[in-house]
């Protein structure tokens, strides 16, 4: 099966879970986005055909929400909260410096090994326990320079282990 066919099969499976109406669009895009770290052009075309939603509409939706991406991203998408309660914590800037240093990339970029993408997010709802960041679905609080390095190392190990297992 070629890549496009695989995607179509995957989308059909998602349709069985979420239904074929327009209301299934968000859940299906969310699952695709989680599984692949982004929503590819082929994925959008497959969704467009499966749900009978025009492809431009699918694209419009996929580009509206900040958790979606239509460009490839790393296995781990890191979203650092940039809103005021987090951004004014004393540990905020050291934690970010550690991210830049460990990953060697800036916001909006993906590491060359494809493991990490670094983004900023608006209020993650952890204002009482900032600085905070999300790694995929999980949230990390009270960030410090040291804790950032630990978190990244854990992710890196997990990613390498997963690669090996393949």
């Amino acid at each position: 099966m070629d890549a496009q066919q695989t995607l179509r099969t995957e989308v059909e499976q998602l349709v069985r879970v979420h239904g074929r109406g327009r209301t299934a669009l968000m859940p299906i895009l969310q699952d695709l986005n989680r599984a692949h770290s982004y929503i590819s052009e082929d994925a959008m075309l497959a969704v467009s055909d499966a749900l009978n939603v025009p492809r431009a509409e699918v694209y419009g939706v996929a580009t509206f929400y900040s958790y979606f991406s239509v460009k490839p991203r790393g296995t781990y998408v890191i979203r650092v909260c940039r809103t005021i309660s987090c951004a004014k914590q004393p540990d905020y800037h050291p934690a970010i410096a550690a991210l830049f240093d460990e990953l060697g990339i800036g916001f909006g970029e993906t590491t060359s090994d494809g493991i990490f993408s670094l983004e900023q997010t608006n209020c993650a709802g952890m204002c009482d326990q900032g600085p905070s960041m999300m790694v995929n679905e999980d949230v990390y609080i009270h960030l410090t320079e040291a804790s950032v390095r630990t978190i990244l190392n854990e992710c890196r190990h997990a990613a390498l282990a997963a690669k090996k297992a393949q």
Binding site: M44, L51, P54, A56, E57, Y59, G60
Partner: protein, 637 residues
């Protein structure tokens, strides 16, 4: 339901409206003009319902759902703000339906300031000078800035482009530096055309109008109909400007520059010169075209008649194959092929139905092919020196003219397709005030058109012309004996999808010109000829869905499709603005022109008969006519 009227006071004027009328509409009814850049009369709910009562896309319900949300005005420009007594803040009158008595003010210092601020905010991300813009003079934003005295740059102006203008290769040219994101284009493309080529991409300060994956228009599933251009309030959308190339050809002494003019532009170009919509300027325009340097001015109506001969013969031949020979390869219903927007639409969205398309080229291309062969031969002209220009109401005609396969004579059938708007601009550049000119006839040999050609410009026109010819040929009777004055009224009108049928009570002998196709018409005796019509491609979707479901349209023999609402007279290349009233006025002009012709049937056109005697000697749908006058189609993604 006869619901009670509600009394509203607008700027002290009392007006009674039915419930649900918006404040904007109510104000207009009493002559109070509230400015807006996102509302468009074509896109208000009433017009939409009448045009596209039910519009499923590719056979599913989900789109109806989508449309129900899109039907409501976006109220995004926020210029139509008004004050309502007893309510805080300002309210967008386009999105304020009247359900209770209310007192409204449409002007106050607060409203004026807010409107001026909003205009200045638009200008704060607007790059480009008015004088260098295709919409200079017809720009709605420009007009409002003048009205509201926007002279300062309180919120700044970009000093360099924020976006690259995507010109090369595109027929629909977008300049996002002038886009205000009103979304009229998105809604038009979706709701009238069912194409959904455009969407809003991104969010917040990153939002913009885009195609799927942000592609160039030429790479998108776009049919080039240009309806988006005609709804754009600014210069963010325009057609590729071919006027420079045409000027260049005109000024080249080695070239014979000929122009053919389609019916719809002559009923509309006056609007660009201050005339009321529906003012026909056919013969004044001929004078103008000669004055700016065209060597010959021909009437596309001639090739429209030629199209009817080819397409009508093809229909008879298909019917014979299908009904008598039981040949499954003769796909029915036959679809018309003269609207290039429709052609690209079916190539993209319904490729499985390509065999149903008539293989006849459109009148534009037929005229082009004949000009560089028959006409050139007859007059001893070198076809390589002929520059073939067409004046069309249509942006998709530029794409059609550029199709690689349109060169079977060895030369491009049509070198440049110019829209009504471009031609108006050329006239103005040359200082030609068209309405004031004397009248000039078309040049021969393609100068004696029929009324049938003229009505090609309106939805139902091709069908009416085809019926006039097919019915007379098959029955041997005058069509006037079936329809008063040969006006086939059942196919006229503006309903999105229409059907009509005619019973063939008796048949006549096969005329000489068709004798190579069928031996007799006995097999048609007692048959009922069923025809369908659709305009605005969203209605084509309704037709296709009905055919797929085996509904009444699947029983039709011949269906006319026009990509644009109203047919060519509402084309994407016509003067701006265009709305339902303006389309109706243009239609009236075309039908009254038809009524004035002595010869009103394509098969009675002397020039057409001559070309079959002198050039396409084997008759319609023969080898030579296939080579020059017919074409083929391809599936597109």
């Amino acid at each position: 339901m006869d619901s009670e009227l509600i009394a509203v006071s607008i700027d002290g004027k009392e007006v009674k409206v039915s419930p649900g009328t918006t404040v904007l509409e109510a104000a207009r009814a009493v002559g109070i003009h509230i400015p807006t850049l996102c509302h468009h009369d074509d896109l208000c709910s009433e017009a939409l319902y009448s045009q596209t009562s039910s519009t499923p896309h590719q056979g599913e319900h989900s789109h109806q759902h989508e449309e129900s949300a899109m039907l409501s005005t976006p109220s995004s420009c926020r210029l139509c703000l008004v004050e309502v007594e007893g309510l805080p803040k300002l309210h967008a009158s386009c999105a304020l339906p009247i359900h209770n008595a209310m007192t409204v003010r449409t002007t106050s210092t607060a409203i004026r300031h807010a409107r001026r601020d909003i205009l200045e905010l638009m200008m704060s991300e607007h790059y480009g000078d008015c004088f260098a813009c295709a919409r200079n003079g017809t720009c709605e934003l420009q007009k409002l800035c003048a009205d509201y005295g926007v002279t300062s740059e309180r919120f700044g102006r970009p000093h360099e482009p924020l976006f690259e203008k995507a010109e090369a290769g595109n027929i629909i040219v977008r300049d996002q530096n002038k886009c205000i994101l009103c979304r009229r284009c998105v809604r038009m493309c979706a709701l009238y055309q069912g194409v959904y080529a455009l969407t809003t991409e991104g969010r917040g300060d990153h939002s913009r109008i885009a195609t799927f994956m942000g592609r160039e228009m030429q790479d998108a599933a776009c049919i080039n109909c240009g309806q988006c251009i005609n709804r754009c309030p600014t210069g963010a959308l325009s057609e590729r400007d071919d006027t420079e190339a045409v000027w260049h050809a005109i000024e080249d002494p080695d070239k014979l520059v000929v122009i053919q003019t389609a019916p719809a532009p002559r009923a509309a170009i006056g609007e660009a010169f201050g005339c009321e919509p529906g003012t026909p300027l056919t013969f004044q325009m001929n004078t103008a075209l000669k004055r700016i340097g065209f060597d010959k001015v021909f009437d596309t109506n001639f090739s429209a008649d030629l199209t009817i001969m080819e397409e009508g013969s093809e229909l008879i031949s298909r019917l014979y194959k299908a009904l008598v020979l039981k040949d499954n390869s003769a796909a029915l219903p036959q679809f018309t092929s003269c609207s290039p927007g429709w052609i690209k639409f079916i190539e993209h969205f319904y490729p499985q139905y390509l065999p149903n398309l008539s293989s006849a080229k459109s009148p534009q291309q037929m005229m082009g092919a004949v000009l560089k062969t028959y006409f050139a031969e007859k007059n001893g002209w070198d076809p390589s020196k002929i520059v073939s220009v067409s004046l069309m109401p249509c942006t998709a005609k530029k794409f059609e003219a550029g199709r690689p396969e349109m060169d079977s004579s060895g030369y491009r059938d049509v070198d440049y397709a110019i829209t009504t708007r471009e031609m108006a601009r050329m006239f103005k550049q040359a200082g030609v005030d068209v309405p004031k000119l004397d009248k000039t006839d078309f040049d021969s040999p393609f100068g004696t058109p029929t009324g049938s050609g003229v009505i090609f410009g309106a939805t139902g026109g091709v069908m009416e012309a085809a019926l006039r010819t097919v019915l007379e040929i098959v029955t041997g009777e005058k069509v006037e004996s079936m329809f008063d004055h040969a006006d086939i009224k059942p196919v006229r009108g503006f309903d999105g999808v229409r059907m009509a049928e005619v019973k063939i009570e008796k048949v006549g002998p096969v005329p000489e010109i068709l004798s190579h196709l069928v031996a007799d018409f006995e097999w048609l005796k007692g048959a009922t000829l069923r025809v369908g019509l659709a305009h605005g491609t969203v209605n084509a979707i309704r037709v296709m869905k009905d055919i797929e479901e085996g509904g009444p349209l699947s029983k039709c023999h011949f269906i006319e499709f026009m990509a644009c609402p109203g047919g060519c007279l509402g084309g994407g290349g016509q003067p701006i603005p265009t709305d339902q009233d303006i389309r109706a006025a243009r239609a009236k002009a075309l039908y009254s022109e038809d009524a004035a012709y002595v010869v009103r049937k394509s098969h009675e056109n002397e020039d057409v008969l001559r070309i079959y005697r002198e050039f396409f000697k084997e008759g319609p749908c023969s080898h030579k006519s296939h080579e020059l006058l017919h074409t083929h189609y391809k599936e597109r993604v």
